[in-house]
């Protein structure tokens, strides 16, 4: 029977229960959001004893399904005050699937202020012990210490010093198959883990067996159709494996949707220096790997290994959002410097969107100069890394820095930084930023597909028409995909190739023996969104916060002279489903 592990950090007790029957069809985001909505008082302080930190593998985690290596973390977010789901690759999702653990729920809070803990989960149970060695250390040192003490093969979920210091920009990191880091990036979840004084969790899959399948022949057949779709579609089969997500730099520049110099232009002069094409050439010239997976069983492999000038490993999982934010929004025209920032952020455990967007606002505030990547690195290491008073101001995130320094051009929704697509020139993604339950988040409903990429139809990015419906359909589908453990990038083939999603549903049925239809999956997505929305309303985050910052209405952006002009009433129709 699938298990639910409850770890109470107040009295350091552990309870292992059979998963309730009504959770049978839930995994990933559907499960983390169900637990948070049911068990966390919406009005609680996110860093207090009443918040809960929930980890859940997806419904297909641990199976051989292609691209099923993602898992979810959920809680009430200290950054947004909303419910939060954040998902990551790495090795833990798969291991939890094999261990038949449906969820890990970390509750309560230790009374003694300065004691830190480690949690070790294996087939034989759960151990909570005080942790000393890694306290005050950052993520790479934690991975090294865990590998030395408990073995190289353990799954690890950890916070760096930013999480220990409960900064709003902090994330939760997890070990990937190569022993590097992947992140549950958004919403300051590292601070929640820090507030419970859990430094790291290890997962040990020793002694587990392959995940049982009700109909393994049907599973295999469906998986073949599914992986074939991933390989056949030009985006998932060629574009992403070759250029990674950074291929978007030139696309967004071309259409004027690449937010530049703290969202004051839609185009960036040095776009070629930070483009996916340039990154690909650099990686190949230096003997890195342009094509790489963040988790086992990834067919698409959008990640990469980026080496420095001397051919030594510098970073991996080097994403468009990070490159855009430092490269265009902060005007740093040097990909090597940006890669170094990426690596330092991984180490400290800070979100690679919130942090650089915050630096864009800090630059506008005059704390440092636009384009000064060397000073960004110093501030990451010496201010944020050492939690100096300035470091804590920066560590409070984009909205916090804007308030502290009286900046009005502060790109956040529900206090979370707006990512790499300007909502004035890509209006569908603006609807997603405004309405998602998560605070500004592009992945919640990636309308860039039909607005720009010609995937899943075409909707004019500069017109308001059709955007609410587009965003709604994508947000529903995304909530469902986030519940399976499948990587969201399967959406590219799924939007264009008819057999793709039904094959995923067939895998679910072959795994559990159910009779799910596509309609059920869509229904699951709707249910998840609605229960997240209700949590937010009860937390005091109402429709008046489903909006973009005012400057998008006041300032037209080059080159299309576009403003944000969607009617609030029209936006509110998002929830009509």
């Amino acid at each position: 029977m699938p298990k639910v592990i409850r770890i109470n950090m107040t009295d350091l007790s552990v309870r292992i229960d059979e998963a309730p029957a009504e959770w049978a069809g839930l995994g990933g985001r559907a499960l983390t959001s169900t637990v948070v909505a049911a068990e966390v008082p919406p009005t609680c302080h996110p860093l207090g004893p009443n918040n809960k930190l929930v980890f859940a593998p997806g419904l297909l985690s641990g199976t051989a399904a292609g691209n099923a290596g993602r898992m979810s973390a959920g809680a009430k977010s200290p950054l947004t005050g909303t419910i939060k789901e954040s998902n990551a690759g790495g090795t833990c999702g798969r291991m939890l699937g094999r261990l038949d653990i449906k969820a890990i729920i970390v509750e309560g809070q230790p009374v003694a202020a300065n004691t830190w803990y480690q949690i070790r989960i294996s087939a034989s149970g759960v151990v909570i012990e005080p942790e000393v060695e890694t306290v005050g250390l950052n993520n790479f040192a934690v991975l090294e210490s865990v590998a030395r003490r408990y073995g190289e093969d353990k799954g690890v979920i950890t916070v760096g010093t930013a999480g220990e210091n409960m900064m709003m920009i902090s994330n939760i990191s997890t070990r990937d198959p190569e022993g590097k880091l992947r992140s549950f990036g958004r919403g300051g979840l590292g601070a929640v883990m820090g507030s419970k004084r859990v430094k790291f969790i290890t997962i040990d899959q020793e002694g587990t067996r392959p995940v049982p399948l009700v109909d393994s022949a049907a599973f295999k057949a469906a998986n073949m159709v599914f992986t074939k779709a991933l390989k056949d579609h030009p985006v998932s089969g060629q574009g992403l494996p070759t250029y990674g997500t950074a291929v978007l730099v030139n696309i967004l520049h071309e259409i004027g949707g690449l937010p530049t110099r703290n969202f004051t232009s839609g185009q960036c002069e040095h776009h070629d220096m930070i483009s996916g094409e340039h990154m690909y050439d650099t990686i190949v010239a230096r003997g890195g790997e342009p094509t790489h997976g963040c988790s086992l069983g990834c067919v698409i492999q959008c990640s990469q290994v980026y080496n420095d000038k001397d051919g030594k490993y510098l970073t991996s999982g080097f994403e468009y959002e990070t490159i855009w934010a430092y490269g265009a929004d902060c005007l740093i025209d040097n990909l090597d410097l940006i890669a170094e920032c990426d690596s330092v952020m991984d180490d400290l455990g800070v979100d690679s969107i919130e942090t650089p967007v915050m630096f864009g606002v800090a630059m506008e505030a005059g704390i440092l100069k636009f384009g000064d990547g060397v000073e960004v690195l110093r501030m990451l290491r010496e201010e944020i890394g050492k939690a100096t008073p300035l470091g804590r101001i920066l560590g409070g995130g984009t909205g916090h820095v804007g308030k502290t320094y009286g900046v009005t051009r502060v790109p956040v929704v529900k206090n979370q930084a707006i990512p790499a697509y300007d909502p004035r020139s890509v209006k569908g993604i603006g609807v997603t930023y405004a309405t998602t339950t998560q605070g500004a988040d592009h992945t919640a409903g990636y309308a860039v597909t039909a607005n720009v990429l010609n995937v899943g139809g075409k909707v004019d990015p500069l017109s308001n028409e059709g955007q609410v419906e587009l965003s709604r359909n994508l947000q529903i589908a995304t909530a469902a995909i986030d519940s399976t453990g499948l990587c969201l990038f399967i959406a590219f083939p799924a939007l264009d190739i008819a057999e793709c999603l039904p094959a995923a549903v067939d895998m679910l049925n072959a795994r559990f023996g159910g009779k799910l239809t596509m309609d059920d999956v869509v229904g699951l997505g709707k249910t998840v969104l609605k229960l997240e929305h209700e949590f937010n309303l009860a937390a005091g985050i109402g429709p008046e916060q489903d909006r973009l910052p005012e400057f998008f209405e006041l300032e037209a952006i080059a080159p299309h002279n576009a403003k944000w002009d969607m009617d609030q009433k029209e936006l509110a129709t998002f929830w009509n489903f």
Partner: protein, 74 residues
């Protein structure tokens, strides 16, 4: 007439990043693709001055034409 043509991702291989090229009046985007030996079926995104355009669009003087294969990210 003069057109600026920008190519991206693998369209650049054995071709160019950006070039100013001369074409007779009435040239369509499809004609440019054929001349550059780019299979129109592989073209995913076409922009003129940053706005989406279709293959049969007739080009005008000083148009900036960008051709991408089908790509994505996020």
């Amino acid at each position: 007439m003069w057109i600026t043509v920008r190519l991206f991702a693998n369209f650049r291989e054995n071709r160019f990043k950006e070039a100013r090229r001369q074409y007779p009046p009435g040239t369509t985007i499809a004609d440019v693709a054929t001349e550059l030996e780019i299979d129109p079926g592989l073209i995913g995104m076409i922009f003129i001055h940053g706005r989406a355009a279709e293959l049969d669009r007739v080009l005008g003087e000083d148009d900036v034409l960008a051709l991408f294969p089908l790509l994505g990210g996020g």
